[in-house]
């Protein structure tokens, strides 16, 4: 090409002159074509200039791989300027994955053994940047030789190249161990800095090296001591602190050496105290050194006084107005909060203030630290702060904040009511961001706090009436209204303002939830089930509910449709069972089946103890008495139902709905005394021939309530009996809501059924106990 090539400056001028991206690309493409042609021609004089331009273009992001071979040629040339650009190109363009990089090994080797320091420096620099494992292996011995040369310029580079070699090929670390001790005696800071890095790397990689280097701790302490105490040295001081970079490196190495090692830690104690107190903190350099000192103190086995000093320094950092310092202070406090909890507690107010920072990194750190600092004494104040933070925090922190608050509330809640309040508030504010099991936890919590049922259902009702968009809140509210709807409608609760709620309003609200487009399918399921439960709890007639349920029988969502159909069947064919099936749920256990079994065995032992004293009394029923010893045939305790309300509905409804009506067996009245009647109704589901379901219904037509009503049953050994939980233990007077209980009897051998019942209750102020066998059991119950 006749056109003289541009100098780098001119190219840059041209590129800057380009007004648009397209123009720039044009200029660059033209230039690249020139460069490619020039490379092909093999012009040695201007090669370095072309490569320099190519590197510039590469930095802008354009492809430049055709320059790789040129780098090699330039490296091999004897001129320094060529070598300089060549090595730079190698560092930028080549890397391990290219095949060409192996070709420079030879050049590097030659350059390393040459005497010229500058050249050696270049070679070392390149080796440390792009050296692959094979190259390192080849050249390790050369580097080692250079470590011991007199010139500090080369030595400092050689040391850091050694670091890179060790990173790539850990087996070679043995070669570099011996020279280290000697290198520590250097006075040149550059070499010292490199040596310390090398030792750090060695110690991090192998515990044997760690032990070996513990011996040099006194020496390191000495070096740092001289650094700190000798006055102002112009060479390395940065804003009044002498060589902070070296100080920081030494402190880091001391940290690694002193971890878990009493002896070394002791030697360091004085030094660390000195550094901590004497460093000038007005400038950033001093703060950097102080920060590293604090980290070191926390990590080694230091004396207690020193640790307190360190935490106080961190507290002082927190009050500093410079954001950077606050940030590092929060990060390190987070690290030490586990081990020195009480010391960090003292700085709690400042941490809480940092929550209000507009800076995102700071507020995130402050949030983590605040959550770690919550304990039983400050939980109320802290949750208050955290909730106000939740209202104003950026969306990516919301999920963490919400789950943090819930977790803290769980661990440290002072009262159940406070706990429920807190969860409610979190759900209202950040409902969509909470974890999935928050709903389950809350329902379990409410279920367990019997005295707070009325309170919680009212609060939830008002919250729901305001806003039906927060799904977890809606789900919990629907469940509660379904369960405790009767408490919602009756009278007033002293803990909240009197709220007069009509039945129609409740039903309207639930229907609104069902129809709203914001509700998830799961939420709709909750609402539908709640409506069903209300059909037994409310006193009015159930037409509205029946209507809704039958409408949803043709809903498009399969889950809803199934439920609606089942509930429909419940209204029509199984109306007599409806009350029992929809009775109040017992307290659900977290953890599912394992807890159930454990609880069952515990309660089996309970009931055993309870039943044993009845033996001497029941003398006339000797033929059935032997049934009362064993645990298998005896009255088993009511097994706990599954953890979720949807599951419960499915469990209870394992009566087949769609099939034909079971063979109907006449009801039996088994007991009557002073107005209290006990009736048995039988169902034999056609799907399972061995199963017999007995519904025990207790009706009270007298004038006084029957309280503490407990019914137990016993069957012969070949049968299996399961009692499910009764709907309640009070049978209200004047023919009020009957109490029901379901018995499941498995009769695989089709033996004749014999059933014994034992009743205990209080009536007219007396406690009554009745034991009797049920006679006249219809044949259809067991054939």
């Amino acid at each position: 090409m006749v056109v003289p090539s541009l100098k780098l400056q001119d190219l840059i001028e041209e590129i800057r002159g380009a007004k648009t991206q397209a123009q720039e690309r044009e200029v660059i493409q033209k230039e690249c074509a020139h460069i490619r042609a020039s490379f092909r021609d093999g012009d040695p004089l201007h090669r370095h200039r072309q490569l320099a331009k190519l590197l510039y273009v590469h930095m802008l992001g354009y492809p430049a791989h055709f320059g790789q071979m040129e780098c090699l040629k330039l490296i091999a040339s004897p001129r320094f300027t060529d070598k300089r650009v060549g090595y730079l190109g190698a560092m930028l363009l080549l890397d391990e994955r290219q095949d060409a990089h192996l070709l420079i090994t030879n050049s590097i080797k030659n350059d390393l053994s040459q005497g010229i320091q500058a050249v050696q420096g270049l070679a070392l620099c390149t080796l440390s940047t792009v050296g692959s494992a094979e190259m390192c292996r080849d050249l390790a011995t050369e580097v080692e030789k250079l470590l011991l040369q007199p010139g500090p310029y080369v030595r400092k580079k050689a040391v850091l190249t050694a670091v890179h070699i060790i990173r790539k090929v850990p087996e070679l670390s043995n070669i570099f161990l011996p020279p280290c001790a000697q290198l520590l005696h250097e006075r040149h800071h550059g070499v010292l800095l490199g040596t310390i890095t090398l030792i750090t790397e060695l110690c991090e990689r192998s515990p044997a090296a760690l032990k070996h280097f513990r011996k040099v701790v006194p020496q390191l302490v000495q070096i740092l001591w001289t650094l700190v105490t000798t006055g102002y040295s112009t060479e390395h001081s940065i804003s009044g602190v002498s060589d902070p970079f070296l100080q920081v490196q030494i402190l880091r190495l001391l940290r690694i050496l002193g971890r878990n090692h009493e002896e070394s830690s002791e030697t360091m104690n004085d030094l660390l105290a000195q550094v901590a107190t004497n460093t000038d903190t007005s400038r950033n350099a001093g703060n950097a050194v102080l920060f590293e000192t604090v980290l070191t103190i926390m990590d080694i086995r230091s004396v207690a006084g020193l640790r307190v000093l360190a935490v106080n320094i961190l507290g002082r950092f927190l009050l500093n107005s410079d954001k950077n310092i606050r940030y590092v202070a929060l990060t390190s406090l987070l690290r030490v909060v586990q081990s020195d909890h009480s010391a960090v507690q003292r700085h709690r107010p400042t941490v809480v203030e940092c929550l209000r920072e507009p800076d995102a990194s700071l507020s995130r750190r402050a949030l983590e630290l605040s959550l770690a600092l919550v304990n039983s004494s400050n939980v109320r104040a802290m949750t208050q702060e955290l909730q106000s933070f939740l209202e104003s925090c950026p969306p990516d922190l919301r999920a963490d904040c919400a789950s943090g608050i819930l977790l803290a509330a769980e661990r440290f809640a002072p009262t159940k009511r406070w706990h429920i309040d807190t969860i409610l508030r979190v759900l209202t504010m950040a409902g969509t961001h909470v974890r999935d099991d928050a709903v389950a936890n809350l329902t379990q919590l409410i279920g367990g706090a019997q005295e707070l049922h009325a309170y919680s259902v009212r609060r939830l009702y008002s919250a729901l009436a305001e806003d039906i968009s927060q799904q977890p809140l809606v789900q919990v509210a629907a469940w509660c209204i379904g369960e405790y709807g009767d408490l919602l409608l009756e009278g007033s609760c002293e803990e909240t303002e009197p709220l007069q709620v009509e039945e129609e309003e409740v039903l309207a609200l639930l229907e609104k939830v069902l129809q709203s487009h914001m509700s998830l399918p799961a939420t709709r399921g909750y609402a539908l089930t709640a409506l069903m439960k209300l059909s037994t709890r409310l006193r009015g007639d159930n037409n509205r509910i029946r209507q809704v349920v039958s409408v949803y029988g043709s809903c498009l969502d399969v889950e809803l449709q199934q439920r609606a159909v089942e509930y429909n069947a419940l209204f029509q064919k199984y109306d007599h069972m409806r009350a029992a099936i929809l009775e109040k749920m017992p307290l659900v256990e977290r953890g599912g089946t394992q807890d159930e079994e454990a609880k069952e065995s515990k309660e089996a032992q309970h009931s055993e103890a309870a039943l044993v004293p009845t033996e001497p009394q029941a003398s006339k029923l000797l033929d059935l008495l032997d049934l009362l010893d064993g645990t298998s045939g005896a009255a088993q305790p009511p097994p706990l139902l599954g953890p979720s309300s949807e599951g419960t509905s499915v469990h209870l409804l394992d009566l087949p709905c769609a099939s034909s009506a079971p063979a109907s067996i006449p009801n039996l009245k088994v007991f009557e005394r002073e107005g209290l009647q006990l009736n048995l109704s039988f169902v034999r589901p056609p799907g399972t021939p061995a199963l017999l379901l007995i519904m025990v219904t207790a009706i009270n037509t007298s004038e006084a309530d029957v309280t503490h009503f407990v019914c137990q049953a016993a069957v012969p050994k070949s049968f299996q009996l399961q009692l499910q939980a009764p709907s309640g233990d009070t049978v209200p007077a004047q023919g009020g809501l009957p109490m029901t209980q379901l018995l499941r009897i498995l009769n695989p051998k089709k033996a004749p059924l014999r059933l014994k019942l034992r009743l205990t209750y209080n009536h007219f102020g007396q406690s009554v106990q009745e034991i009797f066998e049920v006679n006249n059991l219809p044949v259809e119950t067991w054939q």
Partner: protein
Amino acid sequence: MIKFFLMVNKQGQTRLSKYYEHVEINKRTLLETEVIKSCLSRSNDQCSFIEFKDFKLIYRQYAALFIVVGVNDTENEMAIYEFIHNFVEVLDEYFSRVSELDIMFNLDKVHIILDEMLLNGCIVETNRARILAPLLILDKMSES
């Protein structure tokens, strides 16, 4: 360990880039744009340390130029912050009141200075005189 050293201006144009850990060429521009976006979105009174993917960014603004250093978890952020300033002071001394144009037109010299100070992601030399000595010799050689 320092993963990369970048000098990017406010418009997003990279003035200097040095990677101490391998990153694919096409991913580099992407990384640089993301980095500069996060730095530009910070206001003046926010702290200079950002958590970005799996490393930390420490940045400092000088007029229209951002110097951004990416480090891994073990580094002391404040020491790196100080190092950035040290680097700028060295450039200042060499170019006598350095500006963005100086850096653009003398990119190779800036690379040499950076190589003298950082080797393989570790700080090797921080003394101004010693860093500039080989460069001044080089300049004398090329003049003569």
